[in-house]
């Protein structure tokens, strides 16, 4: 079988829920778990109940279970344990359920009991789901391309807690704060909004770029230390903001003159820390100890930033900058 040497580029990053030295990097066709302390990686092999599979087809997304010992993977071939054209996957708190959000607007709950898997449709929005998040407070938030955010309870997802309405374009990403009581959302209308998910009230709206030239938010993530990192489609910068509990808004992050370059002046004059990268930022993710990982489109692909003395500074991780060819797999 001749395989053309297609580049296998990193598509997504997942941090381990408890172990700081582990980082999961999803490439187009394979999944590697990197051990940051020993500088090597191991390939993840899927275990279906029929056989071990090495070739995944095209990977879409993955996540760790809360105990970190299991990984759920969604691909486009519908052949693995979770046969669904999924957009997002996550584990429930007790590790007994896996939730998969798919393009048809469903959130399916797969219950794992020993070797049996039963599935049940939890939610059916009538629109493509773009992101899903299950908070520690057992709120399930689902957003779609219509611009709606539906927050319900879990596992009684038929009981909707609130609809967070206010975005004027598709909502692309969601992130609960670490307490699970506040929700951040980013949208194609260029804004990042902060919500109170218990009543759907919009607490704060951030539009860091001028309205003349808005940029779609493509990913955002909250850290345990009340920072939120936002990245925009097509832009090679990741913005980090600090979330303030007292004013329920985003505050300026103390920035070092060397690190901070304000890209475009905004009318609120919010000085934030802007992390500049070489190429378009695809995804940002925090780990448990607030180390920030940024995934870009071009080499060096993944860079990590440690939070020291009030701002994020780059730490080297050159070994992560590997792209590999499909022929490597054989």
């Amino acid at each position: 079988m001749t395989v053309s040497p297609q580049k296998n580029l990193p598509q997504f990053l997942i941090t381990h829920p408890t172990d700081l030295s582990k980082l999961l990097v999803g490439y187009s066709c394979l999944l590697r778990e990197f051990n940051l302390s020993s500088f090597n990686y191991k390939e993840i092999v899927a275990q279906t109940f029929k056989q071990d599979k090495r070739n995944f087809g095209l990977l879409v997304c993955a996540c760790y279970s809360n105990s970190g010992d299991q990984v759920a993977i969604v691909n486009n071939l519908k052949e693995l344990v979770l046969p669904r054209s999924g957009v997002k996957v996550c584990f429930s708190k007790d590790n007994k359920s896996i939730l998969v959000a798919d393009k048809a607007g469903h959130v399916i709950n797969y219950c794992i009991e020993k070797t049996e898997i039963t599935q049940k449709i939890l939610v059916d929005t009538l629109s493509t789901i773009t992101d899903m998040y299950l908070s520690v407070s057992n709120y399930l938030a689902v957003c779609d391309r219509e611009g709606r955010i539906r927050v319900s309870f879990f596992p009684n997802a038929y009981h909707i807690l609130s609809y967070c309405i206010g975005h004027e374009g598709a909502v692309t990403c969601l992130s609960f704060t670490s307490s699970g009581l506040r929700l951040f959302s980013g949208s194609n209308d260029g804004t990042v909004k902060l919500w109170d998910p218990t009543n759907g009230k919009e607490l704060f709206s951030l539009e860091p770029f001028s309205t003349v030239h808005k940029h779609k938010v493509c990913d955002l993530q909250c850290s345990a230390s009340q920072h939120v990192c936002v990245c925009y489609e097509g832009l090679s910068v990741a913005e980090v903001y600090k979330y303030s509990l007292t004013t329920e808004g985003l505050e300026t992050l103390v920035c070092n003159m060397f690190m901070c370059v304000t890209l475009i002046l905004n009318i609120f004059q919010l000085h934030v820390q802007s992390i500049n990268t070489n190429s378009e930022v695809l995804q940002t993710v925090f780990d448990v100890e607030n180390t920030l990982y940024i995934l870009e489109r071009c080499p060096p692909y993944i860079t990590s930033y440690q939070f020291l003395e009030g701002f994020f500074s780059e730490s080297s991780s050159e070994y992560l900058a590997t792209d590999c060819y499909l022929s490597d797999l054989q």
Binding site: D124, R148, Y158, Y163, I165, E202
Partner: protein
């Protein structure tokens, strides 16, 4: 102003609710300008009524919603039976919504002296997707589904207005204790609706016997154009039978259960 004539408002019976119609809707419920629909009750968004009596009125909210109101027959009935309540009809089909709108405007004009029909209105909207843009949590006291499109084919079942997941939405907009009314002449659709409503933890049926003689039930059976057509032509089984049910929105039993069971350490 004379009442509009139906022959100028012909429209295909079915409309795809999942398509992206060019519909107008507010960016969120608090930004909706209700003065366009209920001019006597609301000022334009941002302005305020000066006098005491009128500013009391602006605290009102729409409480009855007729989903798929068609030509507006039920709304006219609700205007008379519940004059203090604001009722809103939602209809997806453009020409039908237009007809109902013109009818309401004509009725208001004809009844200027008594001020009737100021408490009903219609909006062209897709209830399956855009309800959260119009209503807030627990805002509605009654919600009506009269003679909905049965969408007989299995592949079209997802277009049915009563489905397990849409029921979660309706439960969100209905206040606890609010009522959901449904009537149809199609027996199979009635079975489907009863099944999904009974299975949904947030709804509990109120028996038909206990509601005999209820004014609202009388309205749902007789006031809409579709119900009159069923009486004339016999409906789906040619017997003129109308199957109806009323469900009440109840508290979440799961939460009650959690509160009662002691948490494990």
């Amino acid at each position: 102003m004379s009442l509009p004539q139906k022959r100028f408002f012909r429209q295909r019976a079915h409309s795809n609710p999942l398509a992206d119609h060019s519909l107008e809707f507010p960016s969120c419920p608090s930004k909706m300008d209700w003065s366009e629909h209920f001019p006597l009750f609301f000022t334009k968004l941002g302005e305020r009524f000066n006098d005491e009596e009128n500013s009391m009125k602006t605290k009102k909210k729409v409480e009855f919603a007729d989903v798929g109101c068609g030509y507006g027959g039920l709304l006219v009935g609700l205007a008379d039976t519940f004059p203090e309540v604001l009722s809103l009809g939602l209809e997806l089909r453009a020409k039908v919504a237009d007809y109902a709108h013109k009818k309401i405007l004509a009725l208001r004009e004809q009844n200027k002296s008594t001020g009737k029909y100021q408490n009903i209105s219609i909006v062209r909207a897709n209830a399956m997707k855009y309800l959260p843009y119009f209503f807030e949590k627990g805002q509605l006291k009654k919600i009506f589904f009269l003679f909905p499109d049965p969408h007989f084919k299995k592949s079209k079942h997802k277009w049915r207005i009563i489905s397990p997941h849409l029921l979660s939405d309706y439960a969100y907009f209905l206040a606890v204790g609010g009522l959901l009314y449904t009537v149809t002449d199609v027996a199979e659709l009635y079975e489907w609706e009863i099944k999904h409503l009974s299975e949904h933890p947030l709804f509990m049926r109120i028996s038909n016997e206990s509601l005999k003689g209820d004014a609202t039930v009388d309205l749902i059976l007789n006031s809409s154009e579709e119900s009159k057509k069923v009486t004339r032509q016999g409906g789906d089984n040619k017997m003129g039978e109308k199957y109806w049910a009323v469900f009440q929105r109840v508290e979440d039993p799961f939460i009650k259960l959690e509160k009662n069971t002691p948490s494990e350490v």
